[in-house]
């Protein structure tokens, strides 16, 4: 039967308004309509990924509850594909269902204060415990969204410092309620704390929560990171979707702010935003016909630059209003609300776009080396043991 037919049947059998939302979501998962490209028994039907959007639309049209995908984005976008690809059957069955239904929130413990762009340089240590059934982890992670709400974390840690850095890393799933896990808010330039620092002190992880082989963590992490970049660059949007729509709205509604110089500056950015949007559309068309182009890196580079330039223009436009802010209170947002705050907030928050999820500098390296085939940077750190690297 087709996914459309199965969806119809499911909705006929399960009234979204009668069932409790969690029961409805669990049933949907069990029917294989969560993510149809996943295997049967794991929320899917083994169908092409393209069929999912029609399924989602049918559920939305029927008024079905959703799993609050922005809240569980890290689980959906990064943990799940990694567990699916590298997990054991037991691990998949344990984690994927509550992940998808939103019962369990996930976070990502990758970056460290000393390992940002150079993620593989990480220093968090995992050492086999005495009885050999698990690991003891010590270290500090940073830039962790949702750590304060998360039940589980995907974690990479160094299990062998005596080999070159990419070889001594292992990938774990960490229970965030385990003793020794301390989460502290990390305040940003905006005054908020979207992110956290996570301190790990003698935290025990059972070996059954390791994902992939010991020392293979870097390869496993690639699955996570690849999915992160697709997620950040992705998303179809209509013309004037995103931050450009905010500033065009101001322009249209407030003719008293207009000047000839700002007019041309606005039009330049409108053109750039529309070009970036069409580039994203073309990328999705390529992916749909199975030509995954390298345009994903372009999309993320453009997204960051445009958000920054457009929000700066908005400040230019606002003049005195740009000198005034709404609040600097330390808050703990779970999703970034670009449109709901002041232009100043957008300006500051957008500065993070070229740092988080891969700096623009690293993305340019990736484009230059992987797309254009230019020679790699001179590196000392590929062959030396991690412990012998200059720090």
């Amino acid at each position: 039967m087709t996914s459309a037919g199965l969806t119809r049947d499911f909705l006929a059998a399960h009234d979204p308004h009668a069932l409790a939302p969690l029961d409805f979501l669990r049933a949907r998962f069990d029917a294989g309509l969560a993510w149809v490209q996943y295997p049967e028994g794991l929320g899917g039907l083994g169908l092409p990924r393209e069929e999912q959007s029609a399924v989602d639309e049918a559920f939305t049209a029927a008024g079905a509850p959703d799993n609050n995908p922005r809240r569980i984005g890290i689980g959906l976008g990064m943990a799940a594909p990694t567990i699916l690809r590298h997990g054991t059957d037991e691990q998949r069955h344990r984690w994927l269902r509550p992940l998808w239904t939103g019962e369990e929130v996930w976070c990502q413990l990758f970056s460290e204060p000393g390992a940002g762009s150079d993620l593989a340089g990480l220093a968090t240590r995992a050492i086999r415990d005495d009885d050999g059934t698990g690991w003891v982890v010590d270290g500090q992670k940073v830039w962790t969204s949702m750590a304060h709400e998360a039940r589980w974390a995907i974690l990479i840690a160094r299990t062998d410092p005596s080999v070159p850095k990419h070889q001594g890393i292992t990938y774990f799933v960490l229970d965030m309620t385990a003793p020794g896990v301390e989460v502290r808010p990390l305040r940003q330039a905006t005054g908020e704390a979207e992110f956290n620092e996570v301190f790990l002190t003698g935290v025990r992880i059972p070996d059954t929560d390791r994902l992939g082989a010991v020392g293979e963590g870097w390869a496993v992490a690639q699955t996570t990171l690849m999915n992160e970049r697709v997620a950040i660059g992705g998303g179809a949007s209509p013309r004037e979707g995103g931050v450009i729509g905010v500033v065009t709205d101001v322009w249209r509604k407030r003719p008293e702010l207009r000047t000839p110089a700002l007019h041309d500056a606005l039009l330049r950015l409108w053109v750039e935003a529309e070009a970036a949007r069409l580039t994203g559309t073309r990328l999705r068309q390529q992916m749909a016909v199975g030509q995954p182009g390298p345009e994903g890196s372009a999309a993320k580079l453009l997204f960051a630059r445009l958000n920054q330039e457009i929000s700066a223009l908005e400040l230019d436009l606002l003049g005195e209003e740009g000198l005034r802010h709404d609040e600097w209170t330390m808050r703990r947002p779970t999703v970034v609300d670009f449109a709901g705050r002041t232009a100043g907030y957008r300006y500051l928050r957008a500065k993070g776009n070229s740092i988080e999820g891969g700096t623009s500098e690293i993305l340019r390296n990736i484009v230059a080396e992987r797309v254009l085939g230019l020679p790699p940077e001179h590196r000392l750190d590929k062959d030396l043991a991690w412990k012998d690297l200059p720090k």
Binding site: T248, W251, V271, E274, A275, R282, A298, E369, L374, P375
Partner: protein
């Protein structure tokens, strides 16, 4: 949904055109030709028009054309841009075909077949044309049009006047070659003194607007081709050129500039494809797509050509290296069918962002 990809048919067409141009319009040949008495390569043109049949791609087969669409035309333009090939494609197969397509004039047959070269007598820089420099008294035309593309080799000129669009025999006019900034795209000043014209359309304004809009939409594909050649050539050069015993392309500042350029070219492809598709399908968004195409692709081609010269170092600044031809084409294109700034001003009206 607009299709921004290339179809298999389009890729086959591209391969044929590229192969022909590789044989017949290599850089040395182009360089030798542009200072010769015959700067336009009419033999190459005939091979394109007659052998490959690309002179009238969007014209129905019944009208002498190939029964394809403007999308295929845009692919040909990408390749012509990559080769800066001196053929009268822009005048004949873009401007004249676009002007004639809306009419039922029999001239379209010959123009689409490539057997009579035609062009539209407007200054190449015109993004729009609101006044006419040629007047019609009955069927007698008088006046001058400057900087007309492909008029030097055209047999027929389509001349707009307040009274309508006229076809005139090129040999009846006085044609003065211009020293063109872009040597691979010679321009001609055309003067008509009592020349007999044949009325093709009473609506010169509408016809010219349609042709110039098609020109703006499709020129983006030529600009994409120019930019791609510049990017590809530069990337190859910096992989082999060594300074300080290292490949120039191993220096991160160079790598990042080329990465940024690649991003721009990637965007230009999406934008140019969008414009071509809107033109081919009669999409109501065409005015926006055409203005966007020039506002975006025009500076990208210039940037690519400028980086090409700079990153080649001294050799890129010599006459003997192709880079300068691309720089001149890119810069000349930036003033063709209206500047990027004028297209941004057009967009302001189209998308409700008033001054």
């Amino acid at each position: 949904m607009t299709d921004l990809l290339y179809s298999d048919v389009e890729e086959e067409l591209r391969a044929s055109v590229r192969s022909l141009l590789a044989d017949r319009a290599g850089f040395e040949a182009v360089l030798a030709r542009i200072e010769s008495p015959e700067p336009v390569d009419l033999k190459l043109w005939r091979a394109l028009a007659v052998d490959l049949g690309v002179a009238g791609l969007p014209v129905p087969e019944a009208g002498g054309g190939a029964g394809a669409s403007w999308r295929e035309t845009s692919v040909v333009l990408e390749e012509l841009g990559r080769a800066v090939a001196p053929v009268p494609f822009l005048g004949n197969s873009v401007l004249a075909v676009a002007a004639l397509l809306g009419t039922s004039d029999p001239l379209l047959d010959a123009v689409a077949a490539g057997t009579r070269v035609a062009t539209l007598a407007v200054p190449l820089s015109a993004g729009t044309l609101k006044t006419w420099t040629v007047t019609a008294e009955g069927d007698r035309l008088d006046g001058t049009v400057t900087s007309v593309v492909d008029a030097g080799v055209a047999e027929v000129l389509l001349v707009p006047t307040a009274a309508g669009l006229y076809a005139v025999e090129a040999t009846d006019t006085e044609r003065t070659p211009v020293v063109s900034f872009d040597l691979t795209r010679p321009l001609t000043d055309v003067t008509l003194r009592g020349v007999t014209g044949r009325l093709i359309s009473a609506d010169a304004a509408g016809t010219v607007e349609r042709a110039l809009r098609a020109g703006a939409a499709l020129l983006a594909s030529e600009q994409l081709g120019v930019a791609e050649w510049c990017l590809t050539t530069t990337v190859e050069y910096v992989k082999t050129r060594r300074q300080f015993a290292r490949q120039v392309g191993s220096y991160q500042a160079i790598k990042h500039r080329l990465a940024d350029l690649w991003v721009s070219v990637t965007e230009a492809r999406a934008v140019a494809r969008y414009a071509a598709d809107c033109l081919a399908t009669g999409d109501p968004d065409l005015p926006v797509a055409a203005a966007l195409a020039q506002a975006f692709c025009s500076p990208v081609a210039v940037k690519a050509a400028e980086e090409c010269v700079q990153l080649h170092g001294g050799i890129g600044f010599t006459w003997e290296h192709p880079a300068h031809l691309y720089l001149k084409r890119a810069r000349s294109n930036a003033a063709t069918f209206g500047s990027a700034a004028s297209h941004r001003a057009t967009l302001a009206g189209l998308v409700d962002l008033p001054a």
